[in-house]
Amino acid sequence: MDRRTLLKTIALATLLTGGQAGLASAADTIKIGEINSYTSLPAFTLPYRNGWQLALDEINAAGGINGRKLEVVSRDDGGKPGDAVTAANELVSRENVSVLFGTFFSHIGLAVSDFANQRKIVFVAAEPLTDALTMEKGNRYTFRLRPGTYMQAAMLVEEAVKLPAKTWATVAPNYEYGQVAVKVFKELMSAKRPDIKWVDEQWPAMGKIDGGATVQALARAEPEAIFNVTFGADLTKFIREGNTRGLFKNRAVVSLLTGEPEYLDPLGDETPKGWIVSGYPWEQIKTAEHDAFLKAYRAKFNDYPRLGSVVGYNTMKSVAEMIRKAGSTDTDKLIAAGEGLKIDSPLGPISFRAEDHQSTMGGYIGKTDMKDGKGMMVDWRYANGADYLPPSSEVAKLRPKN
């Protein structure tokens, strides 16, 4: 056995025996595991990481929880559910974390949530939007912070029904989020406005929209209004083609998430005016709790917060508060503490509903506008998530009993 092989063997053995490093500090800190798609979705997850790091610093600066400091062990899942489960397993089995939080993609959120259910550990999902996470595939170990697809769509419907438009077309990425958003939007709209006709729907594959062709196809249907669910690079392409070809001229557009800085800022001087969107007008929110958050965030990172930053911040705060309220890291006690848990967030107080573990974090609904070549939101208001939660009867029907 030469030296290289020997080194390899040692490295392998260390890996497999689970490198006992970090045990020394485990006694006096509470370890928390975190997983997100840092390499595959950096535009959203890096601000999110800043958010939870800020919250973590604040918590530890204030003396930690119940006299113990918090320590977060963070992992990248590379956008793959299988790797997320491996990471979750590492965090639980090797790092002995007390709680898991994080994830962005719906399917990864579901995979980790199911892992949490199997291993009986609390998981606070930060960003996944799928309703299945708290409904059909919900479990008692999983909590979710961000308003789900149903809530997001319901907030927009409230404004959309006020439009005079009678013919509508939809465009959405061809996967669960897009499909559910369109379905919920249609159902809620048609319930309030039976006179509406749905004249076209487009389903570009996510990340592969053929902008020109999609815009032209929508224009042919001549809808009075359009409901858009595309985001990110697809949205930019769609908007630029739509602007050039005059699709949005004299047409109302209702668009999910478009007002979030993550998606609004890259649009620059292409930002369409007057779209009804959900988002986060961080520069205009003038509440004391948001001011404090904004100031601290800018001081620490020399950057402005995105919505992801708020999500990361709130998730960390929720986890900490859950542990503080439970007075222990025992899973059952954590769950009991989590049901009905209240925290003060930069967006105002939020709480976690006991029946489905969904938080009441809301969103900002307003219109897009442009100033100095930059997109912004105007005429916005905060829609409190508590007013848009899926009806309890629905939860009771869909959520598995356990």
Binding site: L12, A13, L15, L16, T17, G18, T39, S40, P42, A43, R75, D76, K80, P81, G82, D83, V85, T86, A87, N89, E90, S93, R94, S106, H107, L110, A111, S113, D114, F115, N117, Q118, K137, N174, Y175, E176, Q179, Q202, W203, P204, A205, G207, D210, G212, A213, T214, Q216, A217, A219, R220, G232, A233, T236, K237, R240, E241, T244, R245, D265, P266
Partner: protein, 618 residues
């Protein structure tokens, strides 16, 4: 009518940018036989560099914009030339497809590089000066810039034609595409030829990316989005045929434009359906010819032999060590070990197809993924116990391989590989879209092992039994008469045919077996993770398998085992320690490729042979 005409123009505009990228890929492949996985990275780099350069040269002016675009393409060409001279030139003598592994390493590095230099957010470039608006055609608006694109495609095609048919360099390129050894024998400086071709290809990819600037936001997943589409176009058109690439780009562009009108839900799969149909009807693409002669290359392959006594002892020692692992390892280590075992069998099954059967697959994930889904679905819908699901999974995968294989084995080389990819993508799309049955992209969860296998130790032993057993079975088959027949078909189709071997049938059986073994690995994977998602069938999973086999060495039986273990352990351990794991992994892969062009096991074997004998025939 006017609407259809506009939609036709939309299709042409998309076709142009696709053509730019695909033509570069096609030329590179035609001459150097390199499957350049990093071509999408060149495209992405072109877009990012154009973004920066157009801003630097004040994009408001016509000169600033177009100057920026051309400079960006030129910069990418320089990057391409450097890559060829520093990296690829060292590994031309390596077995086929190893260059693919090196370019895969590049893809990983470029992804991190782009993120570091340009940041995570999408960047929206300026519109082209003078071409900001739209033109009214029959009452419909059509962007002025798209007209430029529509013209650009044929112009580039014409220039390439002139280059290939009116210059000495072009004549040499065409000659090299037909028979590069002959060209070399006639005294043409091959390395210079290869460098220039690679540079031209990179330039075209960079240009393709740069001209996208006014159409879409530059983002860091552009590379992987374009690369499959580019491959599809190259293959539909016929490898090495620039005109074919143009035709194929137009077909795909129009298909997308009109497809969304008729089948808006089929956006995921339309291209692959068409590719599958075209390849079944025309096995060498629209304008392609049977692949040119490849002589020498890696040198004659050393026939694989049953284990020597040393090898047998080593295997027994490894087995003992694996059996003893639960005594020293924690639960997490055991789960990782189970995952490594599963990937080992997955890689071994691909190796059986590639190495023994001579059929390269770019879509082997289909059988792994269908194995997972087969197992998960039987648990979900029939509530069968885990053992039954572990039978059902491989059965599903085997049946899929039986069906897909029947079409694939009639093809050869890269065409065969691309047809396997097409079938994998079709399987992916079905699983992805059939939400009511497969759960769609939200997958199936709650597929945990039965109580007796739930502990990490028990599951590890189960994986060891099934994967170890699978690998032994694959080995047995390789040394059985069937395996010899398969190798005969691989090494000399003509001779095998003339002694009465039914080539297609043997390869078909081999294909099916490979799918079946991948299915075993996939079924276990479902229970290891407790869930199944469409990404088990994705291109990324297929590429992982390919990387493992190539890393270990195609020409050895132990190769896939060593390759899978190395790759998986590296991946899991590096990503625990750094966010820059893609760079780390990419660099390691490239170093390994350059250091061990025959794969890790191939290298060790060579060393052993050399120490044993003074001179080896190879």
């Amino acid at each position: 009518m006017s609407f259809l005409f506009i939609q036709f123009l939309n299709g042409l505009a998309s076709a142009s940018s696709l053509f730019l990228v695909a033509s570069g890929l096609s030329i590179i492949f035609g001459v150097s036989r390199i499957v350049n996985f990093a071509h999408g990275s060149f495209y992405m780099l072109g877009a990012y560099m154009a973004f920066t350069l157009v801003h630097k040269l004040s994009g408001g002016t016509i000169f600033g914009f177009w100057g920026g675009v051309v400079l960006a393409a030129a910069a990418v060409a320089v990057v391409g030339a450097l890559v060829e001279m520093i990296l690829l030139r060292r590994i031309y003598q390596a077995p086929e497809l190893l260059q693919l592994l090196a370019t895969f390493g590049l893809v990983l590095i470029v992804q991190d590089l782009v993120l570091t230099i340009w940041g995570p957010e999408d960047l929206l470039g300026p519109r082209a000066p003078g071409l900001r608006g739209a033109i009214d055609i029959f009452g419909q608006s059509f962007p002025q810039y798209d007209f430029v694109l529509i013209i650009l495609g044929p112009v580039v095609l014409g220039l390439l034609w002139l280059l290939f048919h009116r210059t000495r360099w072009g004549t040499l390129i065409r000659a090299a595409t037909q028979d590069r050894e002959m060209v070399a024998a006639l005294g043409v400086n091959q390395s210079w030829l290869f460098t220039s071709v690679f540079t031209l290809g990179a330039f075209l990819a960079g240009l393709g990316g740069a001209v996208q600037l006014p159409r879409e936001a530059v983002n860091h997943v552009m590379d992987l989005q374009i690369i499959t589409e580019a491959f599809v176009i190259v293959v539909i058109g016929g490898l090495g045929s620039v005109l074919g690439a143009f035709l194929a780009a137009v077909i795909i562009g129009e298909l997308n434009a009109f497809g969304i009108l008729i089948f808006p839900q089929l956006t995921l799969v339309l291209t692959f359906l068409v590719m599958a149909v075209i390849l079944v009807v025309r096995p060498w693409g629209l304008l392609g010819k049977p692949e040119g002669v490849v002589r020498g290359g890696a040198g004659a392959e050393r026939p694989i032999k049953p284990l020597s006594p040393t090898g047998r002892n080593a295997t027994v020692a490894l087995l003992v060590a694996l059996l003893a692992l639960p005594m020293i390892s924690g639960n997490y280590g055991l789960s990782v070990a189970s995952e490594v075992l599963i990937y080992t069998l997955f890689a071994a099954s691909l190796h059986f197809m590639m190495g023994t059967g001579g059929m390269v697959s770019f879509g082997h994930a289909a059988y792994f993924g269908l194995g997972s889904y087969g197992a998960a679905l039987t648990v979900k819908y029939f509530g069968v116990p885990m053992l039954a699901a572990l039978v059902a999974g491989p059965a599903v995968a085997g049946i899929a391989a039986l069906v897909f294989g029947w079409f694939c084995v009639r093809l050869s080389g890269v065409y065969l590989a691309m047809l396997t990819l097409a079938f994998a993508q079709i399987a992916y799309a079905v699983v992805f879209q059939w939400s009511s049955f497969t759960g769609g992209d939200n997958g199936l969860i709650g597929i945990w092992p039965a109580p007796w296998a739930a502990s990490p130790t028990a599951f590890y032993y189960l994986s060891l039994l099934l994967c170890g057993g699978g690998i032994v079975a694959v080995r047995r088959i390789t040394f059985a008469p069937f395996g010899y027949t398969l190798r005969a078909c691989r090494d000399s189709a003509l001779r095998a045919d003339s002694i009465g071997i039914d080539l297609a049938r043997h390869r078909w059986y081999g294909f099916t077996l490979a799918g079946f073994f991948a299915g075993i690995a996939g079924s276990l994977y479902a229970f290891l993770k407790g869930s199944v998602f469409p990404d088990t069938i994705s291109i990324a999973t297929s590429v992982d398998a390919l990387v493992m086999v190539l890393l270990g060495g195609v020409q050895t039986l132990a190769g896939p085992i060593v390759g899978a273990a190395t790759y998986k352990i590296l991946h899991v351990s590096i990503s625990s320690y750094t966010d820059q794991w893609r760079t780390a992994l990419g660099v390691i892969i490239i170093v390994l490729v350059v250091a061990f062009p025959m794969g890790i096991v191939g290298f060790i074997q060579n060393r052993l042979l050399r120490s044993g004998r003074v001179e080896d025939a190879a």
